[in-house]
Amino acid sequence: MIKLENVGYVYPGGVKALRGVSLTIGEKGSLAIMGRSGAGKTTLIKHLNGLLKPTSGKVTVDGVDTRKATVAQLSRKVGIVFQNPDHQLFAETVEEEIAFPLKNFGFPQDEIKTRTEWVLELFNLTRYRHHSPLSLSGGEKKRVAMASVVSWKPKYLVLDEPTLGQDRENKLRLRELFEEFMGEGRTIIMVTHDVEFTAECGFNVALLVDGKVSALGSAQEILSNVELLKEASLAAPQMAELFLELEGVGAQPVFTVEEAERLILSRLMAGAEKP
């Protein structure tokens, strides 16, 4: 469990980025952290592996206070992929980039090989294995950055905007990976603006507004609440928006095309049965 207790953070320049965040992560499934630009989302995840220590309050990772552990120690458990891959990539080839953390964590040679192959395939990168990460497109760089953290299978996988620049196929693969990881007892924490993807994943959602958690609940609850979403500068998934416009059709929020189709067909059939 990662526990944030009344966490406040003030940047050296005086900007108050977090104003008393309390969250327990990893107890009840995975979490999407959402909110407008500048709400403090990135600052928050930097606290999860001790990159930032709270100015006030406390963060513990499986009971260990992040003030009392090094980032290196915490990273084995908490793997973070930041928003901008250019900040993370440095190796000469994609393959070396991915193998580097595995070497650092002291994985045996054959395990490094197996895991490297696995993530290259998983992230659709095999054909670029000998290329420089910096020669790749934005979306591809993002996948290299994710591959090089997913490879060590951290207990807590933290991803800042994982779907940025990703096409449909890569999003589906990402979702499958999340399911696999969660099946193994791992927890995914993602910062994202992608409401459609969050709804598909069915994560819990924490809305961050001005450095505070303004709402916490299931994707169903949060992503259908237009007022809450507006406050966080988000829009509901398109299907949810559609059914909000179609007031009175369906009592539950609708997120997927399949649900929408079923609902409309059942309404039409109910109409047809009327005398």
């Binding site: 407008r36 630009s37 500048g38 620049g165 449909r168 603006h193 966080a232 409309i264």
Partner: protein, 287 residues
């Protein structure tokens, strides 16, 4: 030489980056007329960003590599025109705003391009204020770019290009770092600029649902080629039909296709939720 021709005219373009094994763009042909709003989409790595770089001369002037074919932008032959001259005809906003900002404060960053062009200080001040106002960050003009969040940085980068008042704007995933409502605001601004100033706009974007209604044309790229190119409703319907695993087709389009196949909906592919809602209301209240 400047002749009266389309805003963008690309003929048989094949491009290979230096030291790359294979070309990224392959025999690509594209004409975009003045005043159009073209939305370019396609799978990751299909060459969208490379195409953008060809439009403002970063390719071949900065990246080198092997370029075959011809690119005309605002009537200028890109291969023969220095990027500095192209900059007041075509402005490019990158995927990553950090690549575009380098100064100590936002105001200076926005003024930089204009200073280089020798624009008088009074005019610079006016245009800087105007562009910052447009993207909604006037209050951040004294802040350093590194103090800004990703979304604020991208707005600053957009302001930098707007200040140059080019006739063609090229956006490479401009809202990647923005939250959805802010992104919608930016798209509205882009659409308004295009209408009021008669700009030509080319936007590379994955999030079709937010932008398709603004576009006059959709262009789908795959593996360095243009595979679909035409009127938005038609292209979305085709993409939903055979490419929905490759590209993120808006869910209203997917729903529309399913219900049309069942004979329930008969009208055109919708571009907005309101259009789709109207179609569904027509069916649901028919009895």
């Amino acid at each position: 030489m400047k002749t009266e021709m389309a805003a963008i005219e690309i003929r048989n373009l094949t491009y290979k980056y230096q030291n790359a094994e294979a070309p990224v763009l392959q025999n690509l042909n594209l004409t975009i007329e003045k005043g159009e709003f073209a939305l370019v989409f396609g799978p990751s790595g299909c060459g969208k960003t490379t195409l953008c770089r060809c439009l403002n001369g970063l390719i071949p002037h900065f990246y080198g590599g092997e370029l075959e074919g011809e690119i005309f932008v605002d009537g200028l032959n890109v291969r023969e025109t220095p990027p500095a001259k192209l900059a007041s005809h075509v402005g490019l906003i990158f995927q990553n705003p950090e690549n575009q900002l380098f100064s100590f404060n936002v105001e200076r960053d926005v003024a930089f391009g204009l200073e280089n062009l020798g624009v008088p200080p009074e005019e610079i001040r006016k245009r800087v204020d105007w562009s910052l106002e447009l993207v909604g960050i006037s209050d951040l003009k004294d802040r350093a770019p590194w103090e800004l969040s990703g979304g604020q940085q991208q707005k600053a980068a957009i302001a930098c290009v707007l200040a140059m008042q080019p006739s063609i704007l090229v956006f490479d995933e401009p809202t990647s770092f923005l939250d959805p409502l802010t992104a919608r605001g930016i798209f509205d601004v882009i659409a308004r600029l295009r209408r009021e100033l008669n700009l030509t706009v080319i936007v590379v974007e994955h999030r079709l649902e937010a932008l398709a209604a603004h576009a006059s044309r959709l262009i789908l790229m795959d593996r360095g080629k243009i595979v679909l190119n035409g009127e938005p409703r038609k292209i979305l319907a085709e993409a939903a039909e055979r490419l929905s695993l490759k590209v993120g087709v808006p869910s209203i389009v997917l729903l529309h296709r399913r219900l049309s196949k069942l004979g329930i909906l008969k009208d055109l592919t919708p571009l907005t939720t309101s259009e789709m809602a109207a179609q569904l209301r027509g069916v649901l209240t028919r009895d």
